[in-house]
Amino acid sequence: MKVPRQLKRQSWPLIELLELLSGKAAGLSIPAVLAMVPPLLVPAGVCLYALGYLPGDLALALFLLGWLFLAGRESPLRFALPAGKPALGFIALRSLDTVWILAVGLVCRLYWGWPQSVMVWAVAASLTGYLGYYSGVSLLKSVPAKIRLAFPEAMVAADHFFLSRRTVWGGEREIVFGFTALGLLAGQPVWGLAAAVAAGNLNWIVRSYNFWRRSRPDDPQR
């Protein structure tokens, strides 16, 4: 993806500001600085679009990429509440992921006049992203009660693992958001969404197939 030079320029001061606010102006490594760039794509994309510097599809693509990295970071949305309360971060992340991809379809269809198929693919892509996540989560959900009760410590370890990674297979968000954004950047949202559906489903199907294949009791590789 080619990031517009203007965006790069405008994002540097923001990084500077963030560094100042966090009190770590000195001693930041280059990778740490670079890691701060993607989250800034969201506000930057919105600002540039509002100022008329960016066409709508490009702004949407930047927004999606920004959201992908912003919401994928550890701190902003990770607040699993105590006392059996729902992990709001999880709910917000997964639901908003679905919202943004459906929004791409609705914007393309209702505002930019793309054919009906763009909405079909957008629905499929958003559900693909969620299904990729859910196919992993339901591994935890469907642990037989006997195993759950027999190995409580292993279950806690699995919960820790899941709470810190927030995904089991990994890659489902990156695939769906990446291909959708790529399609928008290339001016072909239908192809982008279709590729997201194909790659996203392939990802979770292959990973879950491998998981179940490896977890057979007669697997010689175990």
């Binding site: 059996g84 729902p86 709910i91 679905t98 559900l127 196919s135 195993i147 279950m155």
Partner: protein, 478 residues
């Protein structure tokens, strides 16, 4: 652990009525008695089966059933027409070096919990344990049952069918040491050749203990009446203790009927799960094509059949982690298909395609939001067992809970509302209502969660979680 199964008798009470040659091969709710015994004893890795009547035929049938499941050995008892103690004695050589082994009749079905209780601790050297049921009112045929008199110090004092002062019944499952063989040999030398005679010898020495398995399901299957009773009792085991209101009052009654009919076929639970995927796709297509009544009926049929896979899995011991995973996954896929079909059906009633897309998007988002929220409550479920919500809603929920029902926007009620609304020609209003209900119910549950007391174990877990998060943040900052 080894298990000794006595399958030498003729099974005369079934003669002419049983569909198979031997009682242990009689199907009970889709599985033969021997398969049920194997499934109830996961601790057992080798079977020693004593055969007698029509031994070759029985052994050949058993080989087909047991091959690949566990190790097994056959011991032929040529004196099978004598009492069952002689059949037990025939296995002496095969089991005399074991510390302890299970001994069970070949015509009894029981649940795994019974064996778990019985084998919770090994019998002392030179002793044997018998699983006894103290609930005499629940005994199917008390006149025919082997009665026992148990003492308060954990011993069996008397055993026999003609016992008058009994306080428990014999379930037909023993946990023995090789001392049972000496006792049987001793009783046989005195003319007592039945297993009960051998047990009486152990009783006289104070070496016959018991494990109370009252409440566990067991039933001997030796005539048509007891076979029907066994089927009935197994079905009670299958019923889920908690269900959604619609499931409990409507769906389970029909799905149970279907499950009981198909359990003797070769259908596996995963086949039903995949069939459900087809059924919901059909319902969605019917709705999208404008056949609202047919689509609504098919959607409700899907909801009913959705219970069959679980029932079948529990009834035939075919539940698996993979099956649970597949069921969860297909549930979501089926719901989404129905939502899409219902949303698109609005176009057949004159709505614009744009309206249908917006409605579909909103319904999918609220559904995903809702189920992610509900699922997030399930993660760490092992720790969140001591929840004690308070308030009026909690009282309503408790009322339903005590009657085996879960109150709220559960999967079964969601599908019923959707199916009924579409069938009545109101998909737009129905989906809008469901969106509102899901959001409201989610908010209610969230507020309720604020008033929930966490279990101590869960609080510790979350404290550990936040400590780890703080440490990770500090590490990243440095």
């Amino acid at each position: 652990m080894k298990a000794l199964i006595i399958a030498a008798g003729r099974g005369s009470s079934f003669r002419g009525k049983a569909p198979r040659s031997h009682k242990t091969l009689i199907p009970v709710s889709g599985l033969t008695v021997i398969e049920r015994i194997v499934a109830a004893c996961p601790q057992v890795d080798e079977l020693v089966i004593v055969t007698g009547y029509q031994a070759e035929k029985l052994e050949s049938e058993l080989r087909k059933i047991l091959n690949g499941k566990l190790e097994f050995t056959f011991i032929h008892n040529p004196d099978w027409e004598r009492s069952n103690g002689i059949s037990v004695l025939a296995a002496r050589e095969a089991l005399c070096k074991e510390d302890a082994f299970l001994l069970t009749m070949s015509d009894h079905v029981y649940e795994p919990a019974l064996v778990e209780l019985l084998t919770a601790g090994p019998p002392k050297p030179g002793e044997a344990l018998l699983a006894v049921d103290r609930n005499l009112d629940d005994c199917f045929d008390l006149a025919e049952a082997t009665k026992v008199r148990i003492s308060s110090d954990g011993r069996i004092e008397k055993i026999g069918k003609a016992l008058n002062d009994f306080n428990a019944v014999d379930t037909g499952v023993f946990y023995c040491t090789p001392a049972i063989f000496d006792a049987l040999a001793e009783s046989a030398s005195g003319g007592g050749e039945s297993l009960s005679d051998g047990v009486r010898v152990l009783c006289s020495k104070g070496a016959m203990g018991y494990r109370d398995v009252t409440g566990c399901m067991w039933q001997d299957v030796d005539e048509t009446g007891s076979l029907a009773e066994a089927n009935k009792r197994l079905w009670h085991l299958v019923e889920k203790p908690r269900d959604g209101v619609v499931s409990r009052l409507v769906n389970r009654k029909i799905s149970g009927f279907i499950t009981r009919r198909i359990c003797s076929w070769g259908v596996r639970p995963n086949h039903v799960t995949l069939f459900n995927l087809f059924l919901s796709a059909l319902a969605a297509c019917l709705m999208a094509a404008g056949h609202l009544l047919a689509g609504g009926i098919a959607a409700q049929l899907y909801s009913i059949v959705d219970g069959v896979d679980g029932e079948l899995a529990r009834l035939k011991h075919q539940g698996s982690w993979f099956g649970g995973w597949l069921d969860n996954l297909t549930d979501r896929l089926c719901d989404w298909m129905l939502i899409c079909g219902a949303a698109w059906s609005t176009t057949s009633l004159g709505a614009e395609a744009q309206t249908a897309w917006i409605l579909m998007s909103a319904a999918l988002i609220s559904n995903i939001w809702y189920w992610t929220a509900m699922d997030s409550l399930l993660v760490s479920g092992v720790l969140r067992s001591n929840k004690t919500p308070r308030g009026r809603l909690a009282a309503v929920e408790k009322w339903f809970y005590e009657r085996g029902m879960v109150f709220g926007i559960t999967h079964d009620s969601y599908i019923l509302i959707l199916a009924a609304g579409v069938a009545l020609g109101q998909p737009l209003a129905t989906l809008s209502l469901l969106i509102v209900l899901e959001i409201l119910w989610w908010a209610v549950k969230l507020i309720q969660a604020q008033n929930t007391q966490p279990s101590e174990q869960y609080a510790k877990f979350m404290a550990h979680e936040s400590t780890q998060a703080t440490q990770a943040a500090e590490l990243a900052a440095n």
